[in-house]
């Protein structure tokens, strides 16, 4: 993380009515902004929206800069600031930021990045504010700073029995310089950080009051439903809207473009007084598409191409030692091929957006999104606006999982609102959401592993064959280079294998692709950690011992994680007949997690008896949230392992809704036991994603242990093993 302390500066403004104290560490330049503002203007601040805001007559507001997608940032991010200010969450108002320049380019939710990149940065924001309030009090009372303390939103001077509220001190504090290196609180004194603090959004999500993107309305708005080409890559030829316009409530039928990555797909939108009328109108549309030959595309045939491409050498992702010679000289060689599917994100809140073009070139957007900063800036370019003329109201996201990193659905609404001359709310149907992508791509993997005469791993190769998420986003993608996004984690595992050469083979694809919770690690961990298991079996060594034997050299987070898994799962304790247990771990950019899964043979299939999960964090902000995230990651990973996945035939997505694109239901969820490794320190790993990748390989390794059957392709039918 970049240190921003030395680049701080002040900004002070006076105002006509009322003065407040605002401190923020923000901006792409990492500047601290400290200013007095007219609080009556706060609903529409003049180019500055700070992290902390103290109204002398009222509330203390702290901004959450990371969209809340279920991962708990609405609690955790403001807590970083509130902790240093000795405030509890019931003493503050939390507001969601909307991509304002002053709050920084990292206003997004993705990559499990929120806490690991903000932990110290936001604590310093709070600590600086506290120091200024304390200094203001000490100057007012003419007492030494060291004799002042803070508690419950007040500065106290115990010797003279004086105290003042932050509100009373705000104006004086606002005139002070922001301390360059504010002293951070001793973690032993923490009241919020590291504690299972209740999330303030939970009551709102238990009584229907939480406002998601789909819930927002403004006067005079129209509802929209959009028909897009059912075949990926098709073009709009013509449409007849006569029948659609006869549906009562339908007002307009107009086109819009869906911008996703390098693609622009045209659609026909029906705008109506209410959503149901828009959907009925849409059904009555007559549209002619030019499928451009894409109607012959078959994912089954494409998979066969991937198998053929596996024969190519590919480009080198990572190499060490002399793989070729070590491989050819090795007494024991092993090869295997693994396959995984495309999958959808399928958050329960379908994509939606409300857009309103206001007079004077002002664009206002209400939506569930993971990327407000990016929307403000990329939309400014696309629509010829200044970023400050775009206001993004980030609502609670009804699930993100990577889908809402892509604002294609926001583009549609923005274009419709401009054309219609009215605010337009666009809501995708579940069928739209399931069939239009973007999807997490499949990866196919070809492995070579060799053991020496002592059954020690001596050479290893993981070759990934896949289409590319980056290629979907970037028209200038360079196919001749390796693609770190598609080889994620395969060269980052801590295992000490002396000779390694990992490769990537690119495959073209015309269907929009996307990051997905834990991205490519979700497929590569499955193949990689399953193959490691195959090597262990070949070596005749217990899979846990085999992994630990490759971590002998030095202490590592991975070693500690596996040792923890071994202990909590009673790894060495025999299981009942017909049971099996499997282990897997995965380290990648977002963090490190591991699972031990226990299964039993049940009739024709397999029952998942128990999942043990360990996540390694370094430092934890809310252990209860972390536990919930890991539970959820395990559930999502089981879905990805055993449910259908996306198929495309005749150019169209075969699946359409939850009946044929299933996600795990309650009776299918096994007991999940989560353990957190958090031994302190500033080297913090992510929470949202690392719980996911190790599940599929641990499950399949357990199935092998129970049945002797090696699963090399996802998804698989758990009821028929």
């Amino acid at each position: 993380m970049r240190t921003t302390v030395s680049r701080r500066r002040f900004l002070q403004l006076s105002s006509l009515t009322g003065a407040g104290f605002i401190i923020g560490l923000g901006g792409a330049e990492g500047k601290v902004v400290n200013q007095l503002v007219n609080l009556s203007n706060l609903a529409n601040p003049i180019g500055v929206t700070p992290f902390v805001l103290i109204d002398p007559q009222g509330a203390i507001t702290i901004y959450n800069t990371k969209p809340e997608i279920g991962q708990g940032t609405f609690q955790s991010i403001p807590s970083l600031i509130a902790e240093e200010l000795d405030l509890t969450l019931d003493q503050i108002t939390i507001r969601q930021s909307g991509g304002e320049k002053e709050l920084g380019a990292d206003q997004f939710a993705g990559g499990s990045a929120s806490i690991r990149t903000s932990y110290t940065k936001y604590r310093k924001v709070g600590a600086a504010a506290r120091e200024m309030l304390v200094t203001a009090a000490s100057q007012t009372w003419a007492v030494p700073v060291a004799e002042c303390s803070t508690e419950n939103g007040k500065v106290h001077h115990k010797a003279s029995n004086r105290s003042a509220t932050y509100q009373e001190l705000a104006e004086a504090a606002g005139k002070l310089e922001v301390p360059k290196d504010p002293k951070l609180k001793d973690p032993a004194q923490f009241k919020l950080l590291g504690k299972a603090v209740k999330r303030p959004d939970v009551p709102l999500k238990s009584n229907g009051k939480a406002v998601f993107g789909i819930d927002v309305e403004v006067p005079g708005m129209l509802f929209s439903s959009i028909e897009r080409c059912p075949v990926f890559g098709g073009k709009l030829l013509s449409f007849d809207a006569a029948a659609a316009k006869k549906v009562k409530g339908v007002q307009q039928v107009i086109t819009c473009e869906r911008l996703i990555g390098k693609y622009r797909f045209e659609g026909v939108a029906v705008l109506a007084d209410n959503y149901w009328a828009a959907v009925q109108g849409r059904k009555a549309l007559q549209i002619k598409w030019d499928y451009q030959g894409n109607e012959n595309f078959s994912l089954k045939a494409y998979e066969q191409q991937l198998r053929e491409l596996a024969k190519k050498d590919g480009v080198v992702d990572h190499a060490k030692g002399d793989f070729e010679n070590a491989w050819s000289d090795a007494p024991i060689q092993l090869e295997a091929f693994y396959e995984t599917p495309m999958v959808s994100h399928s958050p329960i809140e379908p994509m939606n957006c409300l857009a309103h073009w206001k007079e004077g070139g002002q664009l206002e957007i209400w939506t569930s999104t993971q990327v407000p900063f990016s929307i403000k800036n990329s939309f400014a370019k696309e629509y010829g606006l200044k970023p400050e003329n775009i206001k993004v109201h980030v609502q609670f996201n009804g699930g993100g999982f990577g889908r809402r990193l892509y604002p294609d659905y926001v583009h549609e609404a923005v274009q419709l609102a401009r054309k219609a001359g009215k605010p337009v709310k666009s809501i995708w149907t579940r069928e739209d959401d399931t069939q239009q992508g973007p999807f997490r791509p499949m990866t196919f993997s070809a492995f070579k592993g060799a053991l020496d005469a002592n059954n020690k791993p001596i050479a290893f190769q993981h070759k990934v064959i896949s289409p590319s998420i980056s290629a979907s986003s970037n028209a200038n993608y360079d196919k001749t280079k390796s693609d770190g996004g598609m080889t994620e984690g395969i060269s980052e595992q801590a295992y000490e294998i002396p000779n390694m050469k990992n490769l990537y083979v690119h495959a073209d694809m015309h269907v929009p692709l996307a990051a997905w919770r834990a991205v490519t690690s979700t497929t590569l961990a499955f193949s990689h950690e399953s193959f490691i298991d195959e090597m262990a079996v070949k070596a005749g060594v217990d899979p846990m011992s085999f992994r630990l034997s490759m971590l002998d050299g030095k202490q590592s987070d991975t070693k500690r994680l596996l040792q923890k898994l071994k202990q909590i799962s009673n790894w060495d304790k025999p299981l009942p007949a017909g049971w099996g247990r499997g282990v897997a771990q995965w380290e990648f950019f977002a963090g490190l997690g591991g699972n031990v899964v226990e299964v039993s043979k049940k009739g024709e299939g397999i029952k998942i008896e128990k999942v043990y999960a360990v996540i390694d964090l370094g430092t934890v902000v809310n252990p209860d949230t972390v536990e919930a995230q890991v539970e959820g990651a395990v559930v999502m990973a089981i879905t990805a392992a055993i449910k259908g996945g996306i198929q495309i035939e005749k150019g169209r997505t075969v699946q359409s809704n939850y009946h044929n694109n299933q996600i795990l239901r309650m009776p299918e969820v096994p007991p999940i036991e989560v353990h957190i490794l958090a031994e302190g320190g500033e080297k913090i790993k992510g929470v949202g994603e690392p719980g996911l990748p190790p599940l599929a390989p641990a499950l399949c390794n357990a199935i092998f242990a129970a049945t002797g059957k090696r699963i090399r392709r996802l998804p698989f039918d758990i009821n028929k093993i």
Binding site: V202, G208, N274, G399, R430, D624, Y658, M666, P667, V669
Partner: protein
Amino acid sequence: MAAITLTVNNKQFKIDVDPQMPLLWAIRDFVGLKGTKFGCGMAQCGACTVLMDGNPIRSCSTQVSVAANKKISTIEGLSENVEHPVQQAWIELQVPQCGYCQSGQIMTTVALLKKNPDPTDEQIDSALQGNLCRCGTYPRIRKAVHRAAELMKSKPF
């Protein structure tokens, strides 16, 4: 179009809608209560669950005309200040993540506990298997249903 009177949370609403419109959109867009959610439109996910005469139904797949003269209960009608035992259990166990499916989960649970004040895990699974949660809050929902059952014994609602 037809004039339909809906009774939602013991209040009457006169609305003029296509009688085939799903109750979900009548509740959201005409009655103006947004706590009931759209997820799938074909009774697959349960996000739209409301109670009709006390029974959980999928409002996305129930025509509004069917709901006339019936008592509809939505999440907003459960309590004034989140004090319903099911809501209290949800908060105590910090069930929601994104929260989008939780109105449906809670309404299904309310109906379950009315009929079966002390359900087993299997009975909970059976009652809630029609309510999807993409965040994977299922383990906590199960615990929270047990906790709500416990709370309701001391504080019937």
